[in-house]
């Protein structure tokens, strides 16, 4: 089981690096989707099949489609010379130092902290549902309110009156 975990982990890391360093927007998005799929495999190996499935359905299958949709609409997929100027090698220095500090931290944490055993019994969707609607009910309700705000905002933005008047374009 551990071998699969490391394979998925390496795929996730490599594809994420490709996603942030690529210059072609659509190719970067494809690597990001691959990275999400690898993370979903890791969730599955950690005996959380429900979360793994939701990761694929919601992140890889719905949100990323919207990203690609917008990228296609704006037609920014092609490589541009200007983007090379935006990403100078000098800009990597501070993030690299910060990331190295985090890496050292992580290595020490892995040595000392107890990790979750990977051969636990699988947590089924039913258990997730029960704990969502009892222990974590407040979180679910807050998320619902947030989504409601999003829906109202989208309705407000989309509810402009039609300006084109033509007998063929009028509905009914």
């Amino acid at each position: 089981m551990d071998v699969f975990f490391y394979i998925a982990g390496v795929v996730a890391i490599v594809s994420t690096i490709m996603a942030i360093s690529g210059r072609n927007a659509i190719h970067s998005l494809l690597y990001l989707i691959l990275s999400l799929l690898a993370i979903s495999v890791i969730f599955y190996l950690l005996s959380a099949p429900f979360i793994a499935a939701l990761e694929v359905i919601i992140y890889a299958g719905a949100i990323m489609v919207l990203f690609i949709f917008v990228t296609m609409m704006l037609n920014i997929g092609l490589e541009r010379e200007t983007e090379k100027k935006w990403l100078k090698p000098r800009m990597w220095i501070i993030p690299s130092i910060l990331a190295a500090v985090l890496l050292v931290n992580l290595i020490f944490a892995l040595k000392s902290v107890q990790t979750i055993p990977s051969d636990k019994e699988a947590i089924l969707p039913k258990q997730v549902g029960i704990s969502l609607f009892s222990t974590y009910l407040l979180g679910v309700e807050i998320a619902a309110i947030l989504l409601m705000a999003g829906v109202i905002g989208a309705y407000h933005l989309g509810s402009q009156k039609k300006k084109v008047k033509h007998r063929f374009l009028e509905i009914k």
């Binding site: 099949p49 359905i57 719905a62 489609v65 296609m72 509905i171």
Partner: protein, 314 residues
């Protein structure tokens, strides 16, 4: 060893049905349109499938120089992979399935949402305005119809108390879910047509206005993958309708369970073809309106009522 046989069997059945559908669809369409259809190659024109396949294999496999080559080549494969993967969780018979996953329905939904990429990327990589418009329509249509495709199945999940396809079939021994979940069935069926972008919902490829939409630039076996992928999708949705709402392999015991499953699947494939023969294509905004204003509320209502009745009966 047993696994190898089952996987080979499932692949063989799925691919044979999908390839055979090329002939079945053309013959059935011609029956309903009062003409003969392909009847020259072999008995009843059955050799047409082989002839078509050979033709596709030997066509020039052209990748347009203006396309995004890696994505262009990758796109048709995604469709085949996602659909064939889903067949792994569909039970063909009591002991005839590749893997009885306890998240079976979610596995199907995940794969169908990944299948969208095939069309979107295929259309984008072609670098052609008709293909791009087709890809945009496809992404909007499939994203919309996925939402309540999942919601319409939740009633079935609640009644069977499981996401596993095998348990759902076994839960239907007392009666097929098609009667208590009639609204769920209708919504799933319409969403299934939209997901496989078959006529009447073939707006992404609409040959009258977009030439062929997302696969205008494809030729040879790459086009063949889109072509067979569409038939595989039809087979998959029909198999799922049979499994989820019509008792899967359950049936009178004088014939083997696999036969009942294939019979029901084939019946729904014929319904798909009949719909193609009889209904006109709606306009794009009509499709979206039907989705968000009619089908989504219906699916939610079905979910609410099913939940309320199940709690009441407990």
């Amino acid at each position: 060893m047993k696994y190898v046989f089952i996987i080979a069997g499932v692949l063989l059945i799925a691919l044979t049905i999908a390839a055979g559908l090329i002939w079945v669809e053309r013959r059935l369409l011609s029956v309903w349109q009062d003409r003969l259809g392909p009847n020259r190659v072999g008995p009843f024109g059955l050799g047409q499938v082989v002839a078509d396949t050979i033709k596709l294999f030997f066509k020039e496999d052209w990748v347009p120089p203006f396309s995004d080559r890696p994505v262009f080549v990758l796109a048709p494969g995604i469709l085949m992979v996602t659909i064939l993967l889903t067949f792994a969780v569909v039970p063909f018979g009591p002991n005839f399935y590749v893997y009885d996953s306890n998240i079976g329905i979610l596995f199907f939904l995940g794969n169908s949402s990944l299948g969208v990429y095939s069309i979107v990327l295929g259309g984008w990589a072609s670098n052609n305005k008709y293909s791009l418009i087709g890809a945009m329509r496809a992404s909007a249509q499939m994203l919309t119809y996925e939402v309540f495709m999942g919601l319409s199945l939740m009633g079935v999940v609640m009644m069977a108390d499981s996401f596993s396809f095998c348990k759902i079939v076994e839960a239907q021994k007392g009666g097929w879910f098609f009667i208590p979940q009639f609204i769920g069935f209708i919504v799933f069926f319409i969403a299934g047509i939209a997901e496989t972008h078959r006529l009447p919902f073939d707006i992404p490829e609409a040959e009258g206005e977009l030439i062929a939409g997302y696969h205008s630039e494809y030729s040879g076996m790459k086009f063949g993958m889109f072509f067979v992928g569409e038939y595989l999708g039809v087979t998959l949705i029909s198999a799922l309708i049979a499994t989820l709402f019509f008792g899967g392999w359950l049936g009178p015991s004088f014939l083997p369970p696999v036969f009942w499953f294939l019979f029901k699947t084939f019946f729904f494939i014929c319904v798909f073809i009949l719909l193609r023969a009889s209904l006109p294509r709606p306009r794009y905004d009509q499709l979206m309106e039907l989705g968000w204003k009619v089908l989504l509320p219906l699916a939610l209502l079905n979910l609410l009522v099913t939940g309320a009745i199940l709690i009441f009966l407990k």
